[in-house]
């Protein structure tokens, strides 16, 4: 025993050490928000809001990059259009539309709830947003693929 003037019981030091902390999440602790397992509507909406937000930030820079091709003149841009109107790309556009709609409509919910305006209505707001978003997404997808 180390001499502290007080007799330590066996194992006292191990008992005094802080214990492990279980975090929900895949991997290290800062990913805890991302894990949808065992969570309900609000937790999953929050995770998806963040994922769509981060994806939209990446898209912002992608978009600025693509638009920079305009600087190189008409032929470069029109070449790009050929690629950008391919089915795969149009499909990605629909994914983008989903991201925008989810983030925007859930954002309305978060804004209202998180400012203390409608704190007990969070589920209703989610489903209302989902209904509006579903309709707009369907119309948008229809239009993107050239039928509108």
């Amino acid at each position: 025993m180390s001499g502290t003037g007080v007799t330590e019981l066996p194992g006292a030091r191990e008992r005094a050490a802080p214990g492990p902390v279980l975090h929900k999440g895949i991997g290290p602790a800062p990913s805890g928000w991302l894990d949808p397992r065992g969570r309900s509507l609000g937790g999953r909406a929050f995770a998806l809001n963040r994922v769509t937000g981060l994806a939209l930030v990446l898209y912002l820079y992608l978009h600025l990059g693509v638009l920079s091709i305009l600087l190189f003149g008409a032929s470069a841009w029109d070449d790009l259009l050929g690629v950008a109107t391919s089915t795969a790309f149009l499909g990605l556009d629909v994914v983008l539309l989903f991201g925008l709609l989810f983030h925007g409509l859930n954002g309305i919910r978060v804004g209202l709830v998180g400012s203390g305006v409608a704190p007990d209505r969070q589920r209703v707001l989610f489903w209302a947003g989902a209904a509006v978003g579903g309709v707009v997404l369907a119309y948008g997808a229809f239009h993107v693929f050239g039928a509108g």
Binding site: G53, L71, G104
Partner: protein
């Protein structure tokens, strides 16, 4: 039995004065603005053009950007979306619990990134508007 203390009202701004409340207002405010601006942007660009996929050709883009009202809206959109994006990224990064010094670095870094993003976008818009 305890009695409610009568306290003098605080002099300084409290609710809005605290940083986090201001950040919240900016995020919500830009969010509301974006609901309008992004809708206008999407409709004007992609749902008004006849080409398949709703994408404009080079000349159509220049036509569009040549209109001063459109230019102003696009400029406002870029500014608003960059602010909202930087605040959103800040919210994600701040959850990592890196400490007050790191928090200041994150804030400075995002300010810089935001300013550069908006500047680049404005240069791009200016060049295209000039060509139009």
């Amino acid at each position: 039995m305890s009695v409610l203390e009568i306290r003098p009202r605080p002099e300084r701004a409290r609710g809005y004065g605290t940083r986090s409340a201001r950040v919240w207002w900016w995020t919500v405010g830009t969010g509301i603005a974006l609901l309008v601006l992004v809708t206008v942007h999407m409709v004007a660009h992609h749902f008004v053009v006849d080409e398949a996929g709703g994408l404009r050709t080079y000349d159509q883009v220049l036509d569009y950007v040549g209109n001063p009202l459109i230019l102003a809206i696009e400029a406002l959109l870029l500014l608003t979306v960059t602010i909202h994006a930087m605040l959103g990224v800040r919210s994600v990064l701040l959850d990592f619990d890196w400490g007050p010094r790191a928090r200041r670095l994150v804030d400075a870094g995002l300010w810089l990134l935001g300013v550069l993003t908006v500047l680049y976008g404005y240069v791009l818009l200016a060049v295209l508007a000039w060509r139009a």
